[in-house]
Amino acid sequence: MLNVAIKKQFASNGRAGFALNAAFTASQGITVLFGASGSGKTTTLRSIAGMVTPDAGRISLGDAVYFDSTTRVDLAMQKRRVGFVFQDYLLFPHLSAAENVAYGAKARHERVRRQRVDEMLKLVGVDYAAGRRPAQLSGGEQQRVALARALASDPAILLLDEPLSAVDAATRSRLLDEMVEVQRKTGIPFLYVTHSPADAVRIGDSLLAMAEGSIVQQGRPREVFNAPLNVPAARVVGTENILVGRIAGHQPEEGISAVDLGVCRIAIPRSQLAEGSRVTLGIRAEDIIVSRECISRTSARNLLAGKVRHLLRDGESVELVADCGVDLKVRITPQAERALELVPGVEIYLLIKASSCHILP
Protein backbone atom coordinates (compact mmCIF):
# COMPACT_ATOMS: atom_id res chain seq x y z
CA MET A 1 0.00 0.00 0.00
CA LEU A 2 1.42 3.31 -1.11
CA ASN A 3 0.47 6.30 0.99
CA VAL A 4 1.13 9.78 -0.34
CA ALA A 5 0.28 13.16 1.18
CA ILE A 6 2.60 15.86 -0.08
CA LYS A 7 2.78 19.58 -0.68
CA LYS A 8 5.15 21.54 -2.83
CA GLN A 9 5.08 25.14 -3.95
CA PHE A 10 6.68 26.14 -7.23
CA ALA A 11 7.52 29.78 -7.80
CA SER A 12 7.51 31.15 -11.32
CA ASN A 13 9.17 34.48 -12.01
CA GLY A 14 9.04 35.38 -8.35
CA ARG A 15 5.26 34.95 -8.19
CA ALA A 16 3.71 32.07 -6.34
CA GLY A 17 3.05 29.63 -9.15
CA PHE A 18 1.93 26.05 -9.27
CA ALA A 19 1.10 24.36 -5.96
CA LEU A 20 1.15 20.60 -5.59
CA ASN A 21 -1.10 19.30 -2.84
CA ALA A 22 -1.69 15.64 -3.48
CA ALA A 23 -3.03 12.98 -1.13
CA PHE A 24 -3.94 9.45 -2.11
CA THR A 25 -3.35 5.79 -1.49
CA ALA A 26 -2.67 3.13 -4.08
CA SER A 27 -2.69 -0.58 -3.46
CA GLN A 28 -2.52 -3.65 -5.69
CA GLY A 29 -2.95 -3.72 -9.43
CA ILE A 30 -2.56 -0.80 -11.80
CA THR A 31 -3.38 2.64 -10.46
CA VAL A 32 -3.66 5.27 -13.17
CA LEU A 33 -2.70 8.85 -12.35
CA PHE A 34 -4.73 10.76 -14.89
CA GLY A 35 -4.78 14.45 -15.74
CA ALA A 36 -3.86 17.12 -18.26
CA SER A 37 -0.23 18.06 -18.75
CA GLY A 38 0.84 20.47 -16.04
CA SER A 39 -1.56 19.01 -13.49
CA GLY A 40 1.29 17.70 -11.32
CA LYS A 41 1.27 14.01 -12.26
CA THR A 42 4.96 13.79 -13.07
CA THR A 43 6.01 15.85 -10.05
CA THR A 44 4.01 13.49 -7.84
CA LEU A 45 5.66 10.48 -9.43
CA ARG A 46 9.12 12.01 -9.06
CA SER A 47 8.46 12.81 -5.41
CA ILE A 48 7.68 9.15 -4.76
CA ALA A 49 10.88 8.10 -6.53
CA GLY A 50 12.94 10.66 -4.60
CA MET A 51 13.95 12.81 -7.57
CA VAL A 52 11.95 15.74 -6.21
CA THR A 53 11.76 16.72 -2.55
CA PRO A 54 8.33 17.91 -1.37
CA ASP A 55 8.10 20.90 0.98
CA ALA A 56 5.97 19.01 3.45
CA GLY A 57 4.08 15.79 3.89
CA ARG A 58 4.68 12.07 4.05
CA ILE A 59 5.27 9.25 1.58
CA SER A 60 5.30 5.64 2.70
CA LEU A 61 5.15 2.29 0.98
CA GLY A 62 4.02 -0.49 3.28
CA ASP A 63 6.18 -0.20 6.40
CA ALA A 64 8.90 1.82 4.69
CA VAL A 65 8.77 5.59 5.20
CA TYR A 66 10.29 7.31 2.15
CA PHE A 67 9.64 10.86 3.18
CA ASP A 68 8.28 12.53 6.30
CA SER A 69 8.74 16.25 6.83
CA THR A 70 7.81 16.07 10.54
CA THR A 71 10.46 13.49 11.41
CA ARG A 72 12.85 14.77 8.72
CA VAL A 73 13.01 11.49 6.86
CA ASP A 74 14.08 11.72 3.22
CA LEU A 75 15.24 8.31 2.08
CA ALA A 76 17.86 8.32 -0.70
CA MET A 77 16.69 7.18 -4.14
CA GLN A 78 18.98 4.15 -3.90
CA LYS A 79 17.23 2.96 -0.74
CA ARG A 80 13.68 3.32 -2.04
CA ARG A 81 12.56 0.15 -3.75
CA VAL A 82 10.97 2.06 -6.59
CA GLY A 83 11.24 1.20 -10.27
CA PHE A 84 10.87 4.11 -12.68
CA VAL A 85 10.10 3.95 -16.39
CA PHE A 86 10.49 7.16 -18.37
CA GLN A 87 8.56 8.19 -21.46
CA ASP A 88 11.74 8.19 -23.54
CA TYR A 89 13.05 4.90 -22.08
CA LEU A 90 16.55 6.20 -21.21
CA LEU A 91 18.28 2.92 -21.85
CA PHE A 92 22.02 3.28 -21.31
CA PRO A 93 23.21 3.72 -24.90
CA HIS A 94 26.63 2.17 -24.25
CA LEU A 95 25.16 -1.12 -23.00
CA SER A 96 23.29 -3.91 -24.80
CA ALA A 97 19.68 -4.73 -23.95
CA ALA A 98 20.81 -7.58 -21.71
CA GLU A 99 23.48 -5.42 -20.05
CA ASN A 100 20.89 -2.73 -19.38
CA VAL A 101 18.68 -5.25 -17.62
CA ALA A 102 21.66 -6.77 -15.80
CA TYR A 103 22.64 -3.30 -14.55
CA GLY A 104 19.65 -3.21 -12.27
CA ALA A 105 19.64 -6.88 -11.26
CA LYS A 106 20.46 -7.30 -7.61
CA ALA A 107 21.82 -10.86 -7.79
CA ARG A 108 25.47 -11.14 -6.78
CA HIS A 109 26.35 -14.34 -8.61
CA GLU A 110 26.94 -14.03 -12.31
CA ARG A 111 24.90 -17.17 -13.07
CA VAL A 112 21.88 -16.07 -11.01
CA ARG A 113 22.09 -12.62 -12.52
CA ARG A 114 22.15 -14.00 -16.05
CA GLN A 115 19.13 -16.18 -15.27
CA ARG A 116 17.27 -13.15 -13.94
CA VAL A 117 18.10 -11.13 -17.06
CA ASP A 118 16.87 -13.95 -19.33
CA GLU A 119 13.72 -14.30 -17.27
CA MET A 120 12.96 -10.55 -17.45
CA LEU A 121 13.67 -10.27 -21.18
CA LYS A 122 11.39 -13.26 -21.79
CA LEU A 123 8.71 -11.76 -19.59
CA VAL A 124 8.55 -8.63 -21.76
CA GLY A 125 9.13 -10.61 -24.97
CA VAL A 126 12.43 -9.16 -26.22
CA ASP A 127 14.78 -12.03 -25.41
CA TYR A 128 15.57 -12.26 -29.14
CA ALA A 129 17.22 -8.81 -28.97
CA ALA A 130 19.35 -9.38 -25.85
CA GLY A 131 22.64 -8.54 -27.57
CA ARG A 132 21.47 -5.41 -29.37
CA ARG A 133 22.31 -1.86 -28.41
CA PRO A 134 19.41 0.56 -27.74
CA ALA A 135 20.10 2.33 -31.06
CA GLN A 136 19.32 -0.94 -32.85
CA LEU A 137 15.95 -1.38 -31.12
CA SER A 138 12.56 0.01 -32.11
CA GLY A 139 10.70 2.33 -29.74
CA GLY A 140 8.45 -0.49 -28.56
CA GLU A 141 11.42 -2.79 -27.98
CA GLN A 142 13.25 -0.08 -26.06
CA GLN A 143 10.26 0.45 -23.82
CA ARG A 144 10.01 -3.30 -23.17
CA VAL A 145 13.70 -3.41 -22.21
CA ALA A 146 13.22 -0.38 -19.96
CA LEU A 147 10.36 -2.21 -18.27
CA ALA A 148 12.52 -5.33 -17.86
CA ARG A 149 15.37 -3.26 -16.42
CA ALA A 150 13.09 -1.66 -13.85
CA LEU A 151 11.56 -5.02 -12.90
CA ALA A 152 14.96 -6.72 -12.61
CA SER A 153 15.87 -4.51 -9.66
CA ASP A 154 13.03 -6.16 -7.72
CA PRO A 155 11.05 -3.00 -6.94
CA ALA A 156 8.21 -2.84 -4.42
CA ILE A 157 6.33 -0.54 -6.81
CA LEU A 158 6.78 0.46 -10.43
CA LEU A 159 6.23 4.07 -11.49
CA LEU A 160 5.58 4.63 -15.19
CA ASP A 161 5.62 8.18 -16.56
CA GLU A 162 3.62 8.24 -19.81
CA PRO A 163 5.55 5.17 -20.95
CA LEU A 164 3.75 4.77 -24.26
CA SER A 165 3.49 8.32 -25.52
CA ALA A 166 6.51 7.95 -27.81
CA VAL A 167 5.47 4.76 -29.63
CA ASP A 168 3.14 4.38 -32.61
CA ALA A 169 -0.55 3.55 -32.16
CA ALA A 170 -0.35 -0.15 -33.07
CA THR A 171 2.61 -0.82 -30.78
CA ARG A 172 0.92 1.20 -28.07
CA SER A 173 -2.17 -0.97 -28.14
CA ARG A 174 -0.12 -4.18 -27.95
CA LEU A 175 2.09 -2.80 -25.18
CA LEU A 176 -0.92 -1.82 -23.08
CA ASP A 177 -2.10 -5.42 -23.01
CA GLU A 178 1.43 -6.62 -22.31
CA MET A 179 1.79 -4.21 -19.41
CA VAL A 180 -1.37 -5.56 -17.80
CA GLU A 181 -0.08 -9.09 -18.33
CA VAL A 182 3.31 -8.26 -16.83
CA GLN A 183 1.64 -6.60 -13.85
CA ARG A 184 -0.56 -9.64 -13.24
CA LYS A 185 2.39 -12.04 -13.53
CA THR A 186 4.71 -10.11 -11.23
CA GLY A 187 2.12 -8.82 -8.77
CA ILE A 188 4.10 -5.59 -8.40
CA PRO A 189 1.76 -2.60 -8.07
CA PHE A 190 2.02 -0.12 -10.97
CA LEU A 191 1.41 3.61 -10.70
CA TYR A 192 0.85 4.66 -14.27
CA VAL A 193 0.79 8.29 -15.40
CA THR A 194 -1.11 9.10 -18.56
CA HIS A 195 -3.23 11.82 -20.13
CA SER A 196 -4.94 9.37 -22.49
CA PRO A 197 -8.50 8.49 -21.37
CA ALA A 198 -8.44 5.39 -23.58
CA ASP A 199 -5.29 4.06 -21.89
CA ALA A 200 -6.62 4.94 -18.46
CA VAL A 201 -9.87 3.03 -18.89
CA ARG A 202 -8.17 0.12 -20.61
CA ILE A 203 -5.49 -0.72 -18.08
CA GLY A 204 -6.48 0.97 -14.83
CA ASP A 205 -7.81 -1.03 -11.90
CA SER A 206 -8.14 2.25 -10.08
CA LEU A 207 -7.92 5.84 -11.26
CA LEU A 208 -6.71 9.03 -9.62
CA ALA A 209 -7.95 12.12 -11.44
CA MET A 210 -5.55 15.02 -10.95
CA ALA A 211 -6.13 18.70 -11.62
CA GLU A 212 -4.05 21.73 -10.67
CA GLY A 213 -1.88 19.78 -8.29
CA SER A 214 -4.62 17.97 -6.40
CA ILE A 215 -6.31 14.60 -6.63
CA VAL A 216 -9.91 15.50 -7.41
CA GLN A 217 -11.40 12.01 -7.53
CA GLN A 218 -10.36 8.43 -6.98
CA GLY A 219 -12.31 5.38 -8.10
CA ARG A 220 -12.69 2.73 -10.77
CA PRO A 221 -11.81 4.32 -14.14
CA ARG A 222 -15.28 3.82 -15.68
CA GLU A 223 -16.93 5.23 -12.60
CA VAL A 224 -14.80 8.34 -12.67
CA PHE A 225 -15.32 8.83 -16.40
CA ASN A 226 -19.04 8.17 -16.33
CA ALA A 227 -19.86 9.95 -13.14
CA PRO A 228 -17.33 12.56 -12.08
CA LEU A 229 -18.09 13.71 -8.56
CA ASN A 230 -17.14 17.37 -8.86
CA VAL A 231 -16.45 20.09 -11.40
CA PRO A 232 -12.66 19.75 -11.47
CA ALA A 233 -13.00 15.96 -11.91
CA ALA A 234 -15.55 16.50 -14.66
CA ARG A 235 -13.14 18.81 -16.45
CA VAL A 236 -10.29 16.31 -16.07
CA VAL A 237 -12.24 13.41 -17.54
CA GLY A 238 -13.62 15.61 -20.27
CA THR A 239 -17.24 16.26 -19.32
CA GLU A 240 -17.74 19.03 -21.83
CA ASN A 241 -21.06 20.40 -20.57
CA ILE A 242 -21.10 21.82 -17.08
CA LEU A 243 -24.38 23.60 -16.28
CA VAL A 244 -25.50 25.41 -13.15
CA GLY A 245 -29.15 25.41 -11.97
CA ARG A 246 -31.52 24.75 -9.10
CA ILE A 247 -33.56 21.72 -8.13
CA ALA A 248 -37.06 22.61 -9.30
CA GLY A 249 -38.95 19.58 -7.97
CA HIS A 250 -39.04 15.86 -7.40
CA GLN A 251 -41.18 13.08 -8.80
CA PRO A 252 -40.15 10.17 -6.56
CA GLU A 253 -42.57 7.66 -8.08
CA GLU A 254 -41.24 8.52 -11.57
CA GLY A 255 -37.62 8.22 -10.39
CA ILE A 256 -36.67 11.65 -11.62
CA SER A 257 -35.99 15.16 -10.35
CA ALA A 258 -36.11 18.36 -12.38
CA VAL A 259 -33.37 20.96 -12.57
CA ASP A 260 -34.21 24.48 -13.65
CA LEU A 261 -31.44 26.01 -15.75
CA GLY A 262 -33.28 29.30 -16.20
CA VAL A 263 -33.92 28.88 -19.90
CA CYS A 264 -35.09 25.28 -19.70
CA ARG A 265 -35.64 22.35 -17.39
CA ILE A 266 -33.61 19.17 -17.34
CA ALA A 267 -34.76 15.82 -15.95
CA ILE A 268 -32.14 13.99 -13.91
CA PRO A 269 -32.23 10.76 -11.89
CA ARG A 270 -34.03 11.19 -8.55
CA SER A 271 -31.92 13.39 -6.28
CA GLN A 272 -32.09 13.67 -2.48
CA LEU A 273 -31.26 17.39 -2.56
CA ALA A 274 -33.90 19.81 -1.30
CA GLU A 275 -35.95 21.86 -3.72
CA GLY A 276 -34.24 25.11 -4.56
CA SER A 277 -30.70 23.75 -3.92
CA ARG A 278 -28.10 24.97 -6.34
CA VAL A 279 -26.63 22.15 -8.40
CA THR A 280 -23.97 21.75 -11.07
CA LEU A 281 -24.78 19.27 -13.82
CA GLY A 282 -22.25 17.46 -15.97
CA ILE A 283 -23.27 16.07 -19.35
CA ARG A 284 -20.73 14.43 -21.63
CA ALA A 285 -20.79 15.55 -25.26
CA GLU A 286 -20.99 11.98 -26.56
CA ASP A 287 -24.06 11.23 -24.40
CA ILE A 288 -26.27 13.65 -26.37
CA ILE A 289 -28.28 12.55 -29.42
CA VAL A 290 -28.98 15.01 -32.26
CA SER A 291 -32.18 14.79 -34.31
CA ARG A 292 -33.56 16.94 -37.12
CA GLU A 293 -37.15 16.00 -36.21
CA CYS A 294 -39.04 16.42 -33.01
CA ILE A 295 -39.36 12.87 -31.67
CA SER A 296 -41.99 12.53 -28.97
CA ARG A 297 -42.11 8.83 -28.11
CA THR A 298 -38.58 8.21 -26.82
CA SER A 299 -37.10 7.00 -23.57
CA ALA A 300 -34.81 10.03 -23.42
CA ARG A 301 -36.39 12.24 -20.77
CA ASN A 302 -34.94 15.45 -22.13
CA LEU A 303 -35.83 16.95 -25.47
CA LEU A 304 -34.32 20.37 -26.15
CA ALA A 305 -34.97 22.46 -29.25
CA GLY A 306 -32.15 24.60 -30.57
CA LYS A 307 -29.99 25.65 -33.48
CA VAL A 308 -26.54 24.62 -34.64
CA ARG A 309 -24.18 27.37 -33.66
CA HIS A 310 -21.04 25.91 -35.15
CA LEU A 311 -19.31 22.67 -36.04
CA LEU A 312 -15.68 21.79 -35.47
CA ARG A 313 -13.98 18.79 -37.02
CA ASP A 314 -11.75 17.25 -34.34
CA GLY A 315 -9.85 14.31 -35.78
CA GLU A 316 -12.22 11.37 -36.13
CA SER A 317 -15.18 13.18 -34.61
CA VAL A 318 -17.10 16.42 -34.91
CA GLU A 319 -17.82 18.74 -32.05
CA LEU A 320 -21.14 20.51 -32.52
CA VAL A 321 -22.15 23.44 -30.39
CA ALA A 322 -25.94 23.78 -30.09
CA ASP A 323 -27.67 26.90 -28.89
CA CYS A 324 -30.63 25.79 -26.75
CA GLY A 325 -30.78 28.91 -24.65
CA VAL A 326 -27.58 27.54 -23.12
CA ASP A 327 -24.73 26.30 -25.26
CA LEU A 328 -24.34 22.52 -25.26
CA LYS A 329 -21.45 20.64 -26.80
CA VAL A 330 -22.32 17.46 -28.66
CA ARG A 331 -19.91 14.95 -30.11
CA ILE A 332 -21.05 13.21 -33.28
CA THR A 333 -19.43 11.30 -36.13
CA PRO A 334 -18.64 12.97 -39.47
CA GLN A 335 -21.15 10.51 -41.00
CA ALA A 336 -23.95 11.86 -38.76
CA GLU A 337 -22.95 15.39 -39.68
CA ARG A 338 -23.33 14.55 -43.38
CA ALA A 339 -26.51 12.43 -43.10
CA LEU A 340 -28.33 15.07 -41.05
CA GLU A 341 -27.01 17.87 -43.28
CA LEU A 342 -25.92 19.81 -40.28
CA VAL A 343 -24.70 23.35 -40.96
CA PRO A 344 -24.72 26.40 -38.74
CA GLY A 345 -28.20 27.81 -38.29
CA VAL A 346 -30.31 24.70 -38.89
CA GLU A 347 -32.90 23.74 -36.30
CA ILE A 348 -32.18 20.61 -34.30
CA TYR A 349 -33.45 18.70 -31.29
CA LEU A 350 -31.20 17.29 -28.61
CA LEU A 351 -32.16 14.11 -26.76
CA ILE A 352 -30.52 13.44 -23.41
CA LYS A 353 -31.23 10.54 -21.08
CA ALA A 354 -31.86 11.59 -17.50
CA SER A 355 -29.15 9.18 -16.37
CA SER A 356 -26.58 11.00 -18.56
CA CYS A 357 -27.06 14.12 -16.45
CA HIS A 358 -24.81 13.89 -13.38
CA ILE A 359 -24.94 16.15 -10.40
CA LEU A 360 -21.41 17.36 -9.58
CA PRO A 361 -21.00 18.33 -5.95
Binding site: A76, M77, Q136, A150
Partner: protein
Protein backbone atom coordinates in the same frame (compact mmCIF):
# COMPACT_ATOMS: atom_id res chain seq x y z
CA UNK B 1 70.81 16.88 -27.05
CA UNK B 2 67.98 15.56 -29.20
CA UNK B 3 67.72 12.24 -27.44
CA UNK B 4 67.85 13.70 -23.93
CA UNK B 5 65.30 16.40 -24.83
CA UNK B 6 63.05 13.73 -26.31
CA UNK B 7 63.26 11.61 -23.16
CA UNK B 8 62.53 14.59 -20.93
CA UNK B 9 59.60 15.63 -23.09
CA UNK B 10 58.11 12.12 -22.97
CA UNK B 11 58.45 12.02 -19.18
CA UNK B 12 57.12 15.54 -18.62
CA UNK B 13 54.21 15.20 -21.06
CA UNK B 14 53.19 11.75 -19.76
CA UNK B 15 53.15 12.84 -16.14
CA UNK B 16 51.38 16.11 -16.95
CA UNK B 17 48.73 14.45 -19.14
CA UNK B 18 47.89 11.74 -16.61
CA UNK B 19 47.70 14.26 -13.76
CA UNK B 20 45.63 16.71 -15.79
CA UNK B 21 43.25 13.96 -16.95
CA UNK B 22 42.51 12.86 -13.38
CA UNK B 23 42.40 16.31 -11.78
CA UNK B 24 40.64 17.93 -14.75
CA UNK B 25 37.86 15.32 -14.92
CA UNK B 26 37.26 15.51 -11.16
CA UNK B 27 37.21 19.31 -11.32
CA UNK B 28 34.90 19.27 -14.33
CA UNK B 29 32.50 16.92 -12.52
CA UNK B 30 32.34 19.24 -9.53
CA UNK B 31 31.74 22.23 -11.82
CA UNK B 32 29.12 20.42 -13.89
CA UNK B 33 27.19 18.68 -11.13
CA UNK B 34 27.50 20.65 -7.91
CA UNK B 35 26.20 24.03 -6.87
CA UNK B 36 28.36 25.98 -4.44
CA UNK B 37 29.50 29.50 -3.76
CA UNK B 38 32.53 30.61 -5.70
CA UNK B 39 31.91 28.03 -8.42
CA UNK B 40 32.39 30.51 -11.24
CA UNK B 41 35.42 31.99 -9.47
CA UNK B 42 36.97 28.51 -9.39
CA UNK B 43 36.16 28.08 -13.08
CA UNK B 44 37.83 31.42 -13.88
CA UNK B 45 40.92 30.54 -11.88
CA UNK B 46 41.31 27.22 -13.69
CA UNK B 47 40.72 28.84 -17.08
CA UNK B 48 43.12 31.74 -16.49
CA UNK B 49 46.23 30.05 -17.98
CA UNK B 50 44.33 29.73 -21.26
CA UNK B 51 44.16 33.50 -21.70
CA UNK B 52 47.22 34.71 -19.78
CA UNK B 53 50.57 34.87 -21.58
CA UNK B 54 52.39 31.65 -20.60
CA UNK B 55 55.27 33.62 -19.10
CA UNK B 56 52.81 35.30 -16.73
CA UNK B 57 51.40 31.93 -15.71
CA UNK B 58 54.97 30.76 -15.18
CA UNK B 59 55.70 33.83 -13.09
CA UNK B 60 52.71 33.13 -10.83
CA UNK B 61 53.78 29.52 -10.50
CA UNK B 62 57.21 30.71 -9.29
CA UNK B 63 55.51 33.03 -6.79
CA UNK B 64 53.44 30.11 -5.55
CA UNK B 65 55.96 27.27 -5.68
CA UNK B 66 59.32 29.03 -5.36
CA UNK B 67 61.26 28.51 -2.15
CA UNK B 68 59.77 31.70 -0.73
CA UNK B 69 56.29 31.08 -2.11
CA UNK B 70 53.54 29.92 0.26
CA UNK B 71 53.40 26.38 -1.19
CA UNK B 72 57.09 26.12 -1.96
CA UNK B 73 57.98 27.13 1.61
CA UNK B 74 55.83 24.39 3.10
CA UNK B 75 57.26 21.85 0.67
CA UNK B 76 60.82 22.86 1.54
CA UNK B 77 60.12 22.77 5.27
CA UNK B 78 58.64 19.29 5.00
CA UNK B 79 61.00 17.65 2.52
CA UNK B 80 63.96 19.91 2.02
CA UNK B 81 63.24 19.82 -1.70
CA UNK B 82 62.41 22.66 -4.04
CA UNK B 83 60.54 22.22 -7.21
CA UNK B 84 62.14 25.01 -9.24
CA UNK B 85 64.53 23.90 -12.02
CA UNK B 86 63.61 20.21 -11.88
CA UNK B 87 61.78 18.09 -14.46
CA UNK B 88 58.83 18.05 -12.06
CA UNK B 89 58.63 21.83 -12.46
CA UNK B 90 58.38 21.37 -16.23
CA UNK B 91 55.54 18.88 -15.67
CA UNK B 92 53.73 21.29 -13.34
CA UNK B 93 54.08 24.14 -15.86
CA UNK B 94 52.82 21.93 -18.70
CA UNK B 95 49.97 20.66 -16.51
CA UNK B 96 48.86 24.16 -15.49
CA UNK B 97 48.76 25.21 -19.15
CA UNK B 98 46.85 22.07 -20.21
CA UNK B 99 44.34 21.97 -17.34
CA UNK B 100 41.88 24.56 -18.75
CA UNK B 101 41.54 22.60 -22.00
CA UNK B 102 40.85 19.41 -20.08
CA UNK B 103 38.33 21.03 -17.72
CA UNK B 104 36.52 22.84 -20.55
CA UNK B 105 36.16 19.70 -22.69
CA UNK B 106 35.18 17.42 -19.82
CA UNK B 107 32.73 19.93 -18.34
CA UNK B 108 31.00 20.41 -21.70
CA UNK B 109 30.84 16.62 -22.16
CA UNK B 110 29.41 16.07 -18.68
CA UNK B 111 26.87 18.86 -19.02
CA UNK B 112 25.63 17.47 -22.32
CA UNK B 113 24.61 14.16 -20.69
CA UNK B 114 20.92 13.83 -19.85
CA UNK B 115 20.99 13.86 -16.05
CA UNK B 116 18.10 11.44 -15.98
CA UNK B 117 20.49 8.62 -16.95
CA UNK B 118 22.08 9.15 -13.55
CA UNK B 119 18.65 9.22 -11.90
CA UNK B 120 17.85 5.90 -13.56
CA UNK B 121 21.04 4.47 -12.11
CA UNK B 122 20.28 5.80 -8.61
CA UNK B 123 16.80 4.34 -8.91
CA UNK B 124 18.34 0.97 -9.71
CA UNK B 125 20.16 1.21 -6.38
CA UNK B 126 23.59 2.30 -7.58
CA UNK B 127 25.71 4.72 -5.53
CA UNK B 128 26.94 8.04 -6.93
CA UNK B 129 30.45 6.63 -7.34
CA UNK B 130 29.31 3.51 -9.17
CA UNK B 131 27.00 5.63 -11.32
CA UNK B 132 29.90 7.92 -12.21
CA UNK B 133 32.12 5.09 -13.38
CA UNK B 134 29.49 2.93 -15.07
CA UNK B 135 27.17 5.55 -16.60
CA UNK B 136 28.47 9.12 -16.51
CA UNK B 137 32.06 8.42 -17.53
CA UNK B 138 31.23 6.09 -20.44
CA UNK B 139 28.65 8.56 -21.75
CA UNK B 140 31.12 11.45 -21.50
CA UNK B 141 34.11 9.42 -22.67
CA UNK B 142 34.41 11.02 -26.12
CA UNK B 143 34.49 14.56 -24.78
CA UNK B 144 36.90 13.55 -22.04
CA UNK B 145 39.13 11.80 -24.56
CA UNK B 146 39.11 14.92 -26.73
CA UNK B 147 40.22 16.84 -23.63
CA UNK B 148 43.06 14.38 -23.03
CA UNK B 149 44.28 14.77 -26.60
CA UNK B 150 44.16 18.57 -26.43
CA UNK B 151 45.95 18.50 -23.07
CA UNK B 152 48.63 16.20 -24.45
CA UNK B 153 49.20 18.50 -27.40
CA UNK B 154 49.29 21.59 -25.19
CA UNK B 155 51.72 19.96 -22.75
CA UNK B 156 53.97 18.81 -25.61
CA UNK B 157 54.26 22.33 -26.99
CA UNK B 158 54.66 24.11 -23.65
CA UNK B 159 57.44 26.69 -23.73
CA UNK B 160 56.92 29.95 -21.83
CA UNK B 161 55.75 28.76 -18.43
CA UNK B 162 58.25 25.87 -18.51
CA UNK B 163 61.10 28.29 -19.17
CA UNK B 164 60.02 30.43 -16.20
CA UNK B 165 59.55 27.66 -13.64
CA UNK B 166 61.94 24.93 -14.80
CA UNK B 167 64.54 26.88 -16.75
CA UNK B 168 66.37 25.49 -19.75
CA UNK B 169 68.89 23.02 -18.33
CA UNK B 170 70.13 20.56 -20.89
CA UNK B 171 69.58 16.94 -19.81
CA UNK B 172 67.48 18.05 -16.85
CA UNK B 173 64.65 20.38 -17.78
CA UNK B 174 65.22 20.98 -21.46
CA UNK B 175 62.18 19.69 -23.31
CA UNK B 176 61.88 19.47 -27.10
CA UNK B 177 60.46 22.96 -27.68
CA UNK B 178 63.22 24.49 -25.54
CA UNK B 179 65.84 22.41 -27.36
CA UNK B 180 64.52 23.55 -30.74
CA UNK B 181 64.81 27.15 -29.64
CA UNK B 182 68.39 26.64 -28.39
CA UNK B 183 69.46 24.77 -31.51
CA UNK B 184 67.98 27.45 -33.72
CA UNK B 185 69.59 30.30 -31.77
CA UNK B 186 73.00 28.64 -31.83
CA UNK B 187 72.76 28.04 -35.57
CA UNK B 188 72.34 24.27 -35.41
CA UNK B 189 69.67 24.32 -38.09
CA UNK B 190 69.75 20.61 -38.84
CA UNK B 191 69.08 19.67 -35.26
CA UNK B 192 66.24 22.18 -35.05
CA UNK B 193 64.77 20.82 -38.26
CA UNK B 194 64.98 17.22 -37.08
CA UNK B 195 63.31 18.00 -33.77
CA UNK B 196 60.61 20.07 -35.46
CA UNK B 197 59.95 17.10 -37.71
CA UNK B 198 59.71 14.72 -34.73
CA UNK B 199 57.18 17.02 -33.01
CA UNK B 200 55.20 17.44 -36.22
CA UNK B 201 54.97 13.68 -36.77
CA UNK B 202 53.98 13.12 -33.15
CA UNK B 203 51.24 15.73 -33.49
CA UNK B 204 49.91 14.17 -36.69
CA UNK B 205 49.86 10.77 -34.99
CA UNK B 206 47.97 12.26 -32.02
CA UNK B 207 45.38 13.89 -34.26
CA UNK B 208 44.89 10.63 -36.13
CA UNK B 209 44.57 8.68 -32.89
CA UNK B 210 42.12 11.21 -31.51
CA UNK B 211 39.94 10.97 -34.60
CA UNK B 212 39.91 7.18 -34.42
CA UNK B 213 39.17 7.11 -30.69
CA UNK B 214 36.46 9.74 -30.75
CA UNK B 215 34.76 8.52 -33.92
CA UNK B 216 31.04 8.13 -33.25
CA UNK B 217 29.95 4.49 -33.04
CA UNK B 218 28.66 3.20 -36.35
CA UNK B 219 24.89 3.21 -36.58
CA UNK B 220 23.24 -0.14 -37.21
Amino acid sequence: MIWSAFKISVLVVSVATVAVTLAGTALAFVLARREFRGKEALDSLVTLPMVLPPTVTGYYLILLLGRRGPLGQCLYALTGWTVAFTWEAAAIAAGAMALPLMVKSARAALESIDRRYELVSFGLGKSELETFFRVTLPLASRGILAGVVLSFARALGEFGATLMLAGNIRGKTQTMPLAIYEAFISGEDQKAQLMALILTLTSIAVIYLANVLTRPPKAA
